[in-house]
């Protein structure tokens, strides 16, 4: 490919990686500062999507723009993209199931609480039966 396209790919990739760094820092601060399990889980998901999926896509673009790697750049780019898509699919499911399990088993208390629809639904179901 011509050098201009390569540079565009590399710079785009580096921008994505920088965004990933920002999200990782935000997620780390959230993990430390947020008050309860469910909100901290939200911070962890920020780390997984913003801090892993986005930079992985950036790595794929950087690899695609690195001519000196020869044909191997497509291996790196492909692997990074596939990993990114898997993280994008699996991280939200993982946090969803974790949150549900924690809520069902009452391992984590929702405190401080603004709203808890799941508990309200359960109370409604219990009332109907």
């Amino acid at each position: 490919m011509d050098p201009v396209t390569n540079w565009v790919l590399v710079i785009l990739g580096e921008i994505l990686v920088s965004i990933g760094v920002f999200f990782d820092v935000v997620a780390a601060i959230g993990m430390l500062r947020f008050p309860n399990f469910f909100v901290r889980l939200h911070a962890a998901t920020i780390g997984a999507i913003g801090g892993a999926f986005v930079p992985l896509m950036g790595v794929a673009l950087i690899a695609a723009g690195c001519d000196f790697l020869g044909k191997y750049r497509w291996f790196i780019a492909g692997a990074a993209a596939v990993t990114g898509v898997l993280v994008l699919m699996l991280a939200p499911v993982g946090s969803h199931l974790l949150a549900k399990a924690a809520h069902e088993s009452r391992a984590a208390v929702v405190e401080p609480k603004v709203v808890d629809f799941l508990e309200e639904d359960k109370a409604k179901e219990g009332g109907e039966q």
């Binding site: 898997l86 699919m89 699996l90 499911v93 969803h96 199931l97 549900k100």
Partner: protein
């Protein structure tokens, strides 16, 4: 020879230092300091392993025994108490210290007297060079394994017998667990809404399971070309049924009629495949009236038969390695599935079957 002397001196310092650290760790009554001494001993051991040319052990030893282990102990100390209230007798203390010192000096004397050969053995690098030179080398076909992945070649060709026995050991372990759980049949009717996790989890599992199976098969069948092999591929494959077990519940297996017996059949046919591959060249040689070895892969001196190593268009087949890997992957995957199925039976149910029978007799 200066470097070798330096080796010995460094090893002696590390060995004696670790003895002192262990002694202090035992004597110390403040548990926090004792953990610190224990960590110092671990660090010295790690360095000793490095000097003994075992970098792989160093890499696992440092995080486990310098990081994880003290962390666990510290956590326990936090839960209990920091100071030991039992005091050791002075005589016992000195005797322990003296004995361990004598032990170290005696061991050092044995090693210095070439009791276990030169340390570090200079042959190690020669052996590594030999493996690299003969793993895939068509010019010396009679001593080559003809597969470019060195580790798989060593596992299934150079020391194939060892791996066959390892497979047998794992098989026996699983047979033992099946025997322990004999008569325990736990079945239920799968209910899409009642059992397993949420719809979100189930949907994603449906997408991911084929991907895992694909990766597992590729690790197993590519084992003679890239890192991987039968055991690794089988372990990766086993993640798919484990995921189904966790997300869809055990009763899903009853619904698709995948029983322990079927898994056992797959496992046994995999093992049979490993056995047949081990004897394949020998069986062929008997019919062709030629000499051959057990576990023979490529032609050797005086034994001219062997597995094909090159397919159409020069694709590398890896000789017996490909067949070994495929069969081993089947056996390992099915073996793990059996274990998962057995472990997923509720403990209360198992106890009611096992203890229930005994109570009946009384």
């Amino acid at each position: 020879m200066i470097s070798l002397t330096l080796y010995y001196v460094l090893m002696a310092i590390c060995g004696l230092g670790s003895v002192v650290a262990v002694f202090l760790a035992i004597v110390e009554r403040d548990m926090l300091k004792a953990v610190l001494f224990s960590a110092i001993q671990s660090t010295l051991y790690a360095f000793l392993y490095y000097l003994l040319m075992a970098p792989d052990i160093v890499l696992t030893y440092i995080p486990v025994s310098v990081g994880l282990y003290p962390a666990v102990i510290l956590f326990l100390i936090k839960k209990t108490e920091r100071f030991e209230d039992v005091e050791m007798k002075k005589g016992v203390l000195w005797a322990t210290g003296l004995l361990s010192l004598v032990f170290v000096i005696a061991t050092a004397a044995v090693i210095a007297g070439k009791g276990i050969g030169p340390v570090p053995p200079p042959d190690v690098r020669f052996l590594a060079g030999w493996y690299l030179a003969t793993t895939f080398n068509p010019r010396v076909h009679l001593i080559s394994a003809m597969a470019p992945e060195g580790v798989t070649s060593i596992v299934w060709d150079y020391r194939g017998l060892d791996t066959v026995f390892e497979t047998a050991v794992l098989f026996l372990a699983i047979i033992a667990s099946v025997a322990l759980m004999r008569g325990v049949e736990h079945k239920g009717v799968y209910d899409e809404l009642k059992h397993g996790m949420t719809l979100i989890g189930k949907t994603i599992t449906k997408i991911v399971v084929p991907l895992i199976i694909g990766v597992g098969i590729s690790i197993a069948l590519h084992g003679h070309l890239t890192p991987g092999g039968g055991f690794q591929g089988g372990s990766a494959l086993a993640v798919a049924p484990l995921l189904v077990l966790v997300v869809f519940s055990k009763y899903f297996f009853d619904k698709v009629k995948f029983t322990k017996t079927k898994a056992l059949a797959i496992r046994s046919s995999g093992l049979l495949g490993v056995g047949l591959t081990a004897f394949a060249v020998l069986i062929a040689a008997i019919f062709l009236h030629k000499p051959a070895y057990i576990l023979q892969n490529q032609p050797r001196v005086g034994a001219p038969l062997g597995f094909p190593w090159k397919g159409i268009d020069g694709v590398l087949l890896g000789g017996s390695l490909l067949s070994f890997n495929a069969c081993e992957a089947m056996a390992v995957c099915a073996g793990f599935v059996i274990l998962f199925l057995l472990l997923s039976i509720p403990e209360r149910y198992v106890r009611s079957v096992v203890v229930g029978g005994e109570e009946h007799e009384h």
